[in-house]
């Protein structure tokens, strides 16, 4: 549960909050002469907000811990990431809007190619195309067994998700993906006694499904991994009295948003501008908007400092669309750092900006970047405090105690 002390203080006053997440926003320079992507970027709008509002920097999970995207977003949403763990299967299923409820089992799947001895020849079925994979995955979706209901949906190309529903299921099952070629897929086995029935049912389904694919020329098998169930996260409405919307391009972020009860909005266009115009279109229907920009992270992982910097500039340029909506609270941050220098996620603190013209405390910092944020008025704080700060600045929290 997000902090239980918040709930009795909630006051749904209709104010509007925007959480703008530039994925992997934080960067590093390892010498005094160097610059991060955020420092390089020309960001007059963000700098104005920085000058007017309050800066800080967040610790996504704990000091020194490099987060994956799932736990990093849970923290931003106010869910203690060491307590709430979302399995990949559940996240992927939620990402393609395949409902996973508490007690269901979800897993990610790859189509693969088996040789005549039943050994894996290609773990990705020759990276079979979206079009060629679609009818094969639809065949899998038709396979049913007694005792459970199974649904399968394509994610992209050879990748799919499977959800099994039934009585007494438990997700403690091993992957069938052997992670190498020349050996057969692994059998599903129960990792805990309570998953015995699940293992049997899943193995039965796999056997049926393999028969169905036997005559396929390339995708004549599949591998499953990341068995998981819905982590049963309290919803944004229940925890915060917020009608929340998610505006994101990538399935994984839509997935984690659905798991906390956000409405995932259809985008009216691409990039920051498209996402901000999506917020504009649905402005009256929601009071919390989580807007996710992916490419800062992607270019960080590529080690492309300039491209990451350009994405930040695009966001800055489109920002007036958001500002014209007059949000009561606008927060700009990342879920974690992805320094282009490291080409990977990292543990470094993440720049954070809160701008709430009626309630923020203006500090003395005048630019939005790692250095100014580290000196900012909010100091260094855990990302899991983000929602408390949002609600407070939106005047949605009453006094604690008399």
């Amino acid at each position: 549960m997000p902090y239980s002390y918040l709930k009795p203080l909630l006051d749904d006053n209709g104010s509007k909050i925007v959480l703008l997440v530039l994925d992997g926003l934080g960067g590093i320079a390892t010498s005094p002469e160097g610059k991060s992507a955020l420092e390089m970027a020309n960001t007059p709008n963000l700098d104005r907000l920085a000058k007017e509002g309050t800066l800080g920097q967040t610790i996504p999970i704990r000091y020194g811990i490099t987060p994956g995207s799932g736990p990093a977003h849970l923290a931003l949403f106010g869910y203690e990431p060491l307590d709430y763990v979302i399995g990949r299967g559940a996240l992927s299923a939620s990402g393609v809007n395949l409902p996973v409820k508490v007690g269901d089992i979800a897993a990610r799947g790859n189509l693969c190619t088996l040789d005549q001895d039943g050994n894996v020849r290609d773990r990705r079925a020759g990276r079979i195309s979206q079009e060629d994979a679609a009818p094969v995955i639809e065949k899998l979706n038709q396979v049913q067994i007694p005792g459970a209901k199974v649904e399968v949906r394509q994610v992209k190309e050879y990748r799919f998700v499977i959800v099994m529903r039934g009585e007494g299921l438990a997700p403690s099952l091993n992957d069938t993906d052997p992670q190498e070629e020349g050996v057969p897929p692994l059998k599903v086995e129960a990792q805990k006694p309570e998953a015995k029935k699940s293992a049997e049912l899943m193995q039965n389904w796999i056997a049926e499904a393999y028969k169905t694919l036997a005559d396929q020329p390339i995708a004549n098998g599949f591998l499953l991994r990341g068995f998981a169930t819905d982590p049963g996260l309290p919803s944004y409405e229940d925890a915060y009295q917020l009608q929340a919307a998610c505006i994101a391009e990538y399935p994984m972020y839509k997935g984690v948003s659905r798991l906390v009860g956000m409405d995932v909005l259809d985008l009216v266009g691409a990039g920051a501008e498209g996402e901000f115009k999506t917020a504009e279109k649905h402005w009256d229907e929601h009071d919390f908007f989580f807007i996710h920009i992916k490419k800062t992270d992607s270019y960080g992982e590529d080690g492309n400092l300039e491209a990451k910097s350009k994405v930040i500039e695009e966001v800055d340029k489109a920002l007036p669309i958001l500002l014209d909506l007059k949000p009561d609270v606008l927060m700009v941050t990342g879920d974690h750092s992805t320094p282009a220098l490291l080409k990977s996620h990292s543990w470094h603190p993440v720049p954070f900006l809160i701008w709430a013209p009626e309630t923020h405390r203006t500090d003395w910092e005048t630019a939005f970047n790692e250095k100014n944020c580290a000196r900012g008025g909010l100091g260094t704080f855990p990302a899991v405090e983000t929602m408390s700060l949002a609600l407070a600045h939106a005047k949605r929290l009453q006094k604690f105690g008399a």
Copy 2:
């Protein structure tokens, strides 16, 4: 246990970490014109590291808490100091390399002088010399009783440690030192029911030992205090996959290092230079080096600002020896503050510097002292996070969650 979330993320990549602790490093000035020892010191090497790396300041235990050396070092080593308490007896025994295992009882002892009525006349036996005390303490080492095995070892001059080993022992025993003269030593009594047997055995041993010393002219008695057992700390190898070495001049720091499984290295010379050359000699054998400089604390306790400042300058001057070894991560900090102005340990935050040329985030601070560190990019953080930051900057931690 050090943070349990670290263990599944560990990746022993062979990188090398140095934790350089200047004991009691932090100081204070109580007016804007004043300077701490660290501010007075001319430290071009530390300032260069500060300019390139990241600064911060640590809270050793909790806000406002002045730590002893034991808990302060446990925190730096990643062991929550409120959960792990090392009794003085165990620490002293470990300091002179007298093994204390879980279930053994260790205590510190003083030789003392008793008058003919059996009252304490001098609690330190006239501060009897190293040479004169040695044979008396060796006599104590020979005293054995049924039901337990006892070992006694001289620490320095009139001070010794005793370790009792046997079945069903427990360390909840009171000191025999009455802390005043003109009264007899106290009897050992069990503070908890499970220590009843220990109290009896210890009292039996004391009675035998007193007989042995009866004809001594000065050191005809002794006082025991700080009964404790091994706290059962997880080792550095188990907690961090690090082969750790301790380089220290004083027994107490060797003691706490042994309790976490560090190898205590023989010094090749005195002072910072001797310690750094010790690291050089053993560089290939270990991947974590804890290097302890004592005299910053000693001069702080003496109120000798200039001498404390000079020690810091000596460390700075010798630093190139360490830097030439090309550690992947070098941290420079204190275990606590010992302001010369206060002539004692204090609760003030402690300057912290991390320098890891491949992974640090350069902040904007350019000198290593209390003021710059307080503004540094890491902010103010608990000392117990030191090891997480070390492992992260050494690229020894994998991503948390997907």
